[in-house]
Symmetry: C2
Subunit: 321 residues, 2 copies
């Protein structure tokens, strides 16, 4: 839950005056999102999201993120469009922060995803991968496999405070991942953060994807692996193979999963678990006392990593090849 | 900033189904308000606020608060109405908490109040006092003068951690307040928490008052004293007599300020400063490590208390009698 930056009255009016979206009737900070400050902005013309990009977002990446959203929406993907001002620009500055006004997307993210949500997600993810194919900009994944070891090194000495033996196990796992990470898989733009709170539904139909601020170029199936972890485990830690199967099937109906993608899915899933485990572990060990944002439990992703390590192959995800 | 309780998807749908307000298209936690969990609820019929009342609100008081809002809105005051379900009830239970859906009020609260806002506030406060006159329910002020000494006793031993000499000064001030607190002033229902974040404006016109969860029966001019403190000091601590004058004048144009009210305004203002100083001091000394909500600075109100102690009389507020 996060609003890090306050926006003054005149400043907001001055901002909105640069767009053709009417005049402000309400602006309320939203208690969702941890990286940026988000406001639900109502004007007499409609509802919008005003986002102020905080420190964790590199301002140099914003043209990629906003351009991608424009591109995907133009390509028919259900995602909000950045609003462009009369000068054509979507990105500007508010309260000393880069800022953008984004279309408001109807829907709610599912607190307890069901198989129907996973199927919808699989379809939309494949549509995203297809729609981004001709997006001309590139952004390397800032949390790709090459970035995990430095992150691990920064946590290693204190990892066992969180779980006995964690440091040694993660070191071995990193060795394995680095040695067996695939190459040459189909790549393109991925969302890279398709957690349930970034996927909105109306009456069990997907209404849109949001929060493209981790989007980057990587293996397309790495996105699928992230979603296996984020959507297909129950809160008790058990893997729900039905959810995985319907997600993968729905994905495959829109975009083919190649044989090499299929067989590397377990290692991609282990890698995705490592990536979220490490960033959570880092935040867990380094979050300031009294911080607004409660850090997420890194051990949730340790359990997921061990699940993928123990399976006999990708058929454990409910999909045959 | 606060959302303490999550509401499940089905639970929200079940709740909304009890009202004639359409179906949910969006529900987002709002990062405003510290006492309760607030959500901006959008349905295909309109926008609403869903409030879940958390521990600090006594559920037994809710019929008073909601009934008052109904009464004031019916009397023409600009304030949101509780929405009543098909069974006629406004108060129900969600996620184990008492909950209500309230009309959404357009407008923004002023981050930097100007005299024009203070004048609008004075008028609306007097309208509130008038409109509440025939409200049949009563609620004693839970933070009235009799409650300050126990609060002080709970802080006394550590008060000097916040400011050297604070404990002794507050003890003397409490003695003075108790000895000279007026009696027999005009009383009625007051808002008791009319801070800028509870007063909304559209283009410098007041669009409504919100957050009646401290409303109670007390001296009407105690509300005025609270507003002198909350609206008429600059961020540098200086008192802006122009703001006070226009607020009091606008109030007086709607509801007469009696002579005894006028002459007791400085002691009421000292008392109001004491009340907010003490609750802030208590929260400052007792807030848990790592809490969401940053406690407010108690010394802001210590400075205000000393201002009212130093003036020669109510003419310092810019108003003659």
């Amino acid at each position: 839950m996060a609003v890090y930056t306050e926006v003054g009255d005149e400043e907001l009016d001055d901002l909105v005056a640069q767009y053709d979206i009417g005049r402000v009737v309400s602006c309320k900070g939203i208690a969702e999102g941890v990286e940026n400050s988000n406001f639900l902005l109502q004007t007499d013309a409609g509802t919008y999201i005003l986002t102020l990009y905080e420190k964790r977002v590199d301002a140099a990446d914003l043209p990629f993120f906003l351009g991608l959203m424009d591109h995907l929406a133009a390509g028919g993907l259900a995602c909000p469009r950045p609003i462009h001002g009369r000068d054509g620009k979507a990105l500007r500055s508010v309260a000393g922060r880069p800022a953008a006004i984004i279309e408001f997307l109807q829907g709610r993210w599912p607190r307890r995803p069901k198989p129907v949500h996973c199927a919808e997600l699989g379809k939309a993810m494949a549509e995203l991968h297809n729609a981004a194919r001709d997006f001309p900009m590139r952004r390397p994944n800032a949390l790709a496999i090459g970035d995990w070891r430095p992150l691990f090194e920064a946590c290693k000495d204190r990892a066992d405070e969180v779980h006995a033996g964690l440091a040694a196990d993660l070191e071995r796992e990193l060795d394995t991942l680095e040695a067996s990470w695939p190459s040459g898989l189909p790549d393109g733009v991925i969302h890279a953060d398709l957690f349930p709170d970034n996927v909105f539904f109306l009456d069990n139909r997907l209404s849109g994807l949001i929060d493209f601020y981790f989007a980057c170029n990587d293996f397309l199936c790495y996105d699928v692996a992230i979603c296996l972890n984020a959507w297909c485990f129950e809160t008790d830690g058990s893997f729900n193979v039905t959810k995985a199967r319907v997600m993968l099937q729905a994905y495959r109906e829109v975009r083919e999963i190649t044989e090499s993608e299929y067989y590397t899915l377990p290692i991609l899933a282990r890698g995705s678990a490592m990536r979220f485990l490490l960033t959570r572990l880092y935040d867990w060990l380094n979050h300031p006392e009294g911080a607004f944002v409660q850090p997420k439990d890194p051990l949730e992703y340790y359990a997921k990593m061990r699940f993928h390590r123990a399976i006999i192959g990708p058929s454990a995800y409910g999909l045959d090849y």
